[in-house]
Amino acid sequence: MSQTTVSTAPTPARNRPKNLLGHAWAGVAMLLAFYLILVAIFTVLSPFFLTVKNLLSIGSNMAFIGLMAAAGTPLIIAGGLDLSVAAVAGISGVIVAMCYTAGIDIWVACLVAILAGGLIGAGNGALTNGLKLNPFIVTLGTMSIITGASLVLTGGLTQPLMIPGFNWIGSGKIGGSGGIPVPLIIMLVVYFLAWWVMAFTPFGRYIYASGGNPEASRMLGIPVDRTQILLYVASGLAGALAGVIVAAMLGAAAPDSVGKHLLTVIAAIILGGTSLFGGRGSVWGTLLAVLILGTLNNGLTLLNVSSFWQDVTKGAVLLLAVGLDQLRVRSQA
């Protein structure tokens, strides 16, 4: 019998199949359970809650947040951070409105806005990865610049954008009036795309590797900077798409309406199990976190809970969610 096997083989106690439901999935499962409990509670408390229409409308309302969070998740996993994403959403609507007013076709205008978002993302990527500047400050800076720029462009005024075909992106439904809202579909498509990229492609592996251990990644020839820059671009694109959807939904582009949702976007990503320090996370966790936050909003409003108590409740639920997850981790460890 060779000594080799003896020395490295684990003792039986250490070899339990405990990581079958590996970390990542167990966290997502926990969030799913939490979401279902929330749904159950609201179903009991409000007769208006559990209807297909209501559940769909939650998804539709959260779509723009979900889009920004979908792109933010891989970016944070890869070790980046984009605080400007919500400001990009703001300027994107403004760009659509300006182009349209200037006589450009509305779809071309959307394309311009989305390309502009990608360009801003590329700028963020170049500053953080090309020049090696701190992403927090860089994207805070671009956030401020972009917010200012949208205000300058519009003079602070909301731009009307009532164009039936265009508004369909924001408020249309597929399959009749009780059908599936278009924004929800767009969001889900983006989530599947992000999941596919992250779970199945080499680029996806680079995302996790770059954030998990950037030094080791560089040493192995993984294009860390290119990976991050591409993800900044993706974040810019997603932000712009979110802005287009909000503008289509509201029939108007407000320069600063999405900006205040930045913290919700980041909160969803972190609550979804992504580590702010990179290397770990999944888009499904983020999606569930987005749904949890949206469901809370909806359920509490349906129960006619005052918005003050909603703040209290939301905070408590955040603590509960993260507390339960910790319980899971402990019982597993």
């Binding site: 602070g156 909301t158 409003t301 349906l302």
Partner: protein, 368 residues
């Protein structure tokens, strides 16, 4: 009457350049500009990226240009500490007069202290500040107007019985203190003046957080508990929120059941084009400067001013829109004949003065 400006009975029309020139001349004789050349007036805006603030600012700027005075614009960003810092900056810049539009009457004293220390006179917009001239909205009344209009419009559209079965949704701004609260309470009570027996459980309040997007989202949420086919009666803290709520109803495909009244009448395009946005209480922010610059110059000229100059609110609907905003056409005739319930309003004012949330500043409540 000071070169065409009579502070007690002023119609809000813009003065001419000649009248302004005469005013400036008189004022200069009494109190010459501090920089020796030209008056500098500071204007601290409430927030520069809400429509109302933008329109007010444009109006003040236009009048300042006409009068040949310099205007410094600062942004209070709906924030107390920022307002205080801006006040200090104005003093530092040695302005001759200040137009202050800030967020909370409770900060009024502190902000005024800064100006008083420097001997600068102030006119305050919409939020009273001790020792300053007050100019602006009559919030309880404007709210009461939109609420009562909504109630009457709903009766006209659906009939009283059906309207009583409907839901009343008001978009409020609860974090922002007593001024918006006076407006919202006015709306609720105005609505009740038209439909006094309305079921309280069918009155829903949503927090608009002052954005169209949030109004939209919260309205979407609340629609889940409003049964299909019953009237949905909407009013809100401002036009933007009302429109956001309307969009949510439209998205749900329930526009047949909705009637909306705005507050502000600054979204004139929507008022003209959206069939279900039936009216809005007019504030005429585009005329604010017509009052404010003459007030400033009168004050600099040593004229005495009444403690408060109030905007005369008017309900603007599709039938009279063209009278106030010439860019738009008027509808043939009004959907119904609106009457302001003056008696009920006076009774409400008496009640309002006893309200807890106004303790300490009951003088905010207008006489009529």
């Amino acid at each position: 009457d000071f070169h065409g400006f009579d502070s007690a009975n002023y119609d809000g029309k813009r003065l001419s350049a000649e009248q302004y020139a005469a005013m400036v001349k008189d004022a200069t004789a009494v109190k010459p500009p501090r920089n020796g050349k030209k008056y500098v007036i500071g204007f601290a805006n409430l927030q520069r990226d809400i429509t109302f603030g933008v329109v007010v600012e444009k109006s003040i700027q236009a009048n300042a240009d006409l009068a040949g005075v310099d205007l410094l614009v600062a942004d209070n960003r709906l924030d107390g500490p920022t307002a205080l810092a801006n006040a200090q900056s104005f003093v530092q810049r040695q302005v001759d007069y200040v137009i202050e539009f800030q967020t909370d009457s409770n900060f009024g004293q502190t902000v005024m202290n800064v100006f008083n220390d420097d001997g600068v006179k102030v006119v305050a917009i919409d939020i009273p500040m001790p020792g300053s001239t007050f100019f602006g909205a009559n919030n309880p009344k404007s709210g009461y107007m939109s609420g009562s209009y909504l109630g009457q419009a709903a009766i006209a559209k659906f009939g009283k019985d059906k309207a009583m079965q409907g839901y009343f949704v008001v978009g409020e701004l609860p974090q922002s203190g007593s001024i918006p609260k006076m407006r919202t309470e006015g709306q609720v009570n105005g609505f009740l003046s038209a439909l006094p027996e309305f079921d309280k459980t069918k009155m829903l309040r949503i927090d608009t957080k002052n954005t169209q997007q949030e109004s939209f989202a919260q309205m979407t949420n609340v629609l889940g508990r409003i049964p299909d086919g019953v009237p949905i009666m909407i009013t809100a803290i401002n036009d933007q929120s009302a429109i956001g709520m309307l969009r949510a109803v439209q998205q749900a495909g329930r526009q047949a059941d909705v009637v909306v009244v705005g507050n502000g009448a600054d979204e004139t395009k929507a008022l003209s084009e959206e069939p279900d946005l039936v009216a809005a209480t007019g504030y005429f922010p585009e005329n604010y400067g017509n009052y404010l610059i003459p007030i400033a110059l009168s004050s600099l000229a040593g004229k005495t001013l009444p403690p408060a100059v109030l905007v005369n609110h008017v309900m603007i609907n599709k039938a009279n829109l063209c009278q106030y905003y010439a860019d738009y056409k008027c509808a043939e005739k009004a959907d119904f004949e609106y009457t302001f319930p003056q008696e009920a309003f006076s009774a409400y004012l008496t009640e309002l003065r006893k309200e807890d949330f106004l303790k300490g500043f009951e003088d905010l409540v207008p006489a009529k």
